[in-house]
Symmetry: C2
Subunit: 248 residues, 2 copies
């Protein structure tokens, strides 16, 4: 089994300079040496202090700004953003590297989001939404019958439902976890055999309930549609936990 061999080797994470800087700044904030509203030392000062090029400092600040932790004011300075700092400790380690590979949690969350997305879509859909969902469904059907790569079209169908829910936040969150779901699916061949075919039927059923504006039924159909994947991920996750239990 060559995979195991590879696993023991591949942990050489090349820690880019910027990442180290991020870690240091994070520490300064979480230890309270830098409080919300404080100004950071200038980029030049930091680069000299840390013994790295200014571009690295720049990159680190950009990333931190992404997460809303820092705010840089042009020609003036960089400050620690005030809000949500209490949650910072978890933010970086969690959001940044959600690679936790906790497939079950991932799918469980997806079920949660999708079930409610279907319910809201049924209640709030416009006629245009029905058209959009139908189109993506026929795209999916084509992909299935041609026999390959249907997964992306599958998720696209679900995304259209999220759009019909008229809740952009819900949609955004789904978009955030979608890439991880995708890699998970592709790596594990979740949609093998004639699973796509049965899934297709379930999709039609979901669409039907959404069209009928039956929120509860739509949610229920979506839930049972995803339940199978959830069960699959349970067994898979247990396997992984067993073999990788010694990892951090």
């Amino acid at each position: 089994m060559e995979k195991k061999f590879l696993k023991t080797f591949k942990e050489i994470i090349i820690e880019k300079p910027a990442d180290k800087i991020i870690q240091q700044i994070k520490e300064l904030i979480s230890t309270g040496q830098l409080k919300p509203g404080d100004k950071l030392p200038s980029e030049r000062a930091l680069s000299e202090l840390l013994g790295v090029g200014r571009s690295h400092v720049r990159e680190a600040i950009q990333k931190l700004e992404f997460y809303g932790i820092l705010k840089t004011l042009p020609q003036s300075g960089t400050v620690v953003a005030g809000l949500g700092i209490t949650a910072l400790e978890g933010l970086i380690s969690d959001v940044l590297q959600m690679e936790g590979r906790d497939f079950y949690a991932l799918v469980e969350t997806r079920v949660l989001l999708e079930t409610n997305s279907a319910r809201l879509a049924a209640l709030r859909r416009s006629d245009d939404d029905i058209v959009a969902i139908s189109n993506s469904l026929s795209d999916y059907e084509k992909a299935v019958s041609s026999g390959k790569d249907s997964v992306e079209y599958d998720l696209l169908f679900h995304l259209k439902i999220a759009e019909a829910s008229k809740n952009p936040v819900l949609k955004s969150l789904m978009l955030i976890i979608t890439p991880d779901i995708l890699t998970y699916f592709k790596d594990n061949n979740v949609c093998a055999g004639n699973r796509p075919v049965t899934a297709l039927e379930e999709h039609y059923k979901i669409l039907e309930y959404i069209e009928k504006k039956n929120g509860e039924k739509a949610a229920e159909a979506m839930n049972s549609h995803l339940q199978e994947i959830l069960n699959f991920s349970i067994s898979k996750n247990q396997l992984l936990n067993k073999s990788n239990g010694n990892q951090k």
Copy 2:
């Protein structure tokens, strides 16, 4: 009312050069001119093509890489990553600038996440979780009785529950929307008057059900706890939509 005045003015979005580049690359991909696996033109070529400095191109690529859309291979080139490209259309405009200010959607999603988070926490909590939640609750209580800034401690309480749910993805998603919730709260004084006091009682009730491992009751308590905020955001949102209806 000076706020209204400011609102009509502050929409001068300074479109940074990097953002324009991102938009162009996004378009190239979504129109199919760049397919997954394709190599992007070199940074130099792009910078000359677009008439901007290389650092801007660099910044754009970094951001795109963040979202898993691009992958840069050192000393070789930058390629379009294969996964989830279909979903790209929405990804950038949505996740990047979720500033949509759709407060109702934000709170609605929060209710959804939190309700299920409470349910799972009740089912999966350890004794340590109970201790952690209790502690954050007494922190909150102290803040309330001292009379200020209780909001952050409030959210911290909810976060501990998310941790007890043993679903890191759920927790991460909550962390993502938390900053927006916070600014919303602070801007609108949601927790004014003796709202914190009644909220405190509800918190204790939630904790009680979680301790008793009663999932349904915990979910129910959390739901009614948040329902008031949801109602508040409905009225507020309508007001905003009315006054800002002409915005994009």
